[in-house]
Symmetry: C2
């Protein structure tokens, strides 16, 4: 497989695994959706539901893009260390961009700048 195909597979596998763990959702009434736009390489986990039928939960908890051969971590509100999982799988740090860090700080992250 070429590099991008491999990265796509890794990202999808890792997000699916987290969803299967059931750790994304605080309660069973809140669904953790996998939202995979494979055509444009956007990969998300989104929490949606109503707690006790009254309190709304809505929000993306993880958002990863693949762009120009790099894996962009755009958003991560979990404690799961998705970036660590990407590194473990074998995606090198020079192919990972911490999109949630400002462009001026990225040179100091040890990851790609974009």
């Amino acid at each position: 497989m070429d590099k991008i195909t491999t990265y796509r597979q890794y990202v999808q596998d890792i997000l699916k695994k987290y969803q299967a763990l059931g750790d994304g959702s605080p309660v069973s009434e809140v669904e953790t959706q996998l939202v995979f736009d494979k055509e444009h390489d956007h990969y998300q986990l989104v929490n949606i539901g109503w707690r006790q039928g009254k309190y709304r939960t809505y929000g993306c908890i993880v958002h990863v893009d693949i762009r120009d051969g790099k894996v962009w971590m755009q958003h991560d509100s979990t404690d799961y260390d998705f970036v660590g999982k990407f590194l473990e799988k074998g995606i090198p740090s020079e192919d990972i961009v911490l999109g949630f860090q400002s462009p001026s700080k990225r040179p100091y992250t040890g990851f790609a700048v974009g």
Copy 2:
């Protein structure tokens, strides 16, 4: 086309049209992504970027699901009236669910309850 195929097309067209208007993003540095998971019928517009290179914007502005033959408006932080556009296209109110309204209030919305 069957009903669901038609609804998919309407939802995609309306979200694409809004993106093309450029009204989703407050500034040019913030990209409005179309995130379409056509396999699982999740359709989103997501704003991502850095204003002045310093201030992060990240968030889904619209999220629509198609589920069990119905169009679920899960989230809408715009003033565009997406539901109004769905009705104009011809999606009947009995096939639209306002997911952002609590289940107990949905019977009074004039739309489907789920």
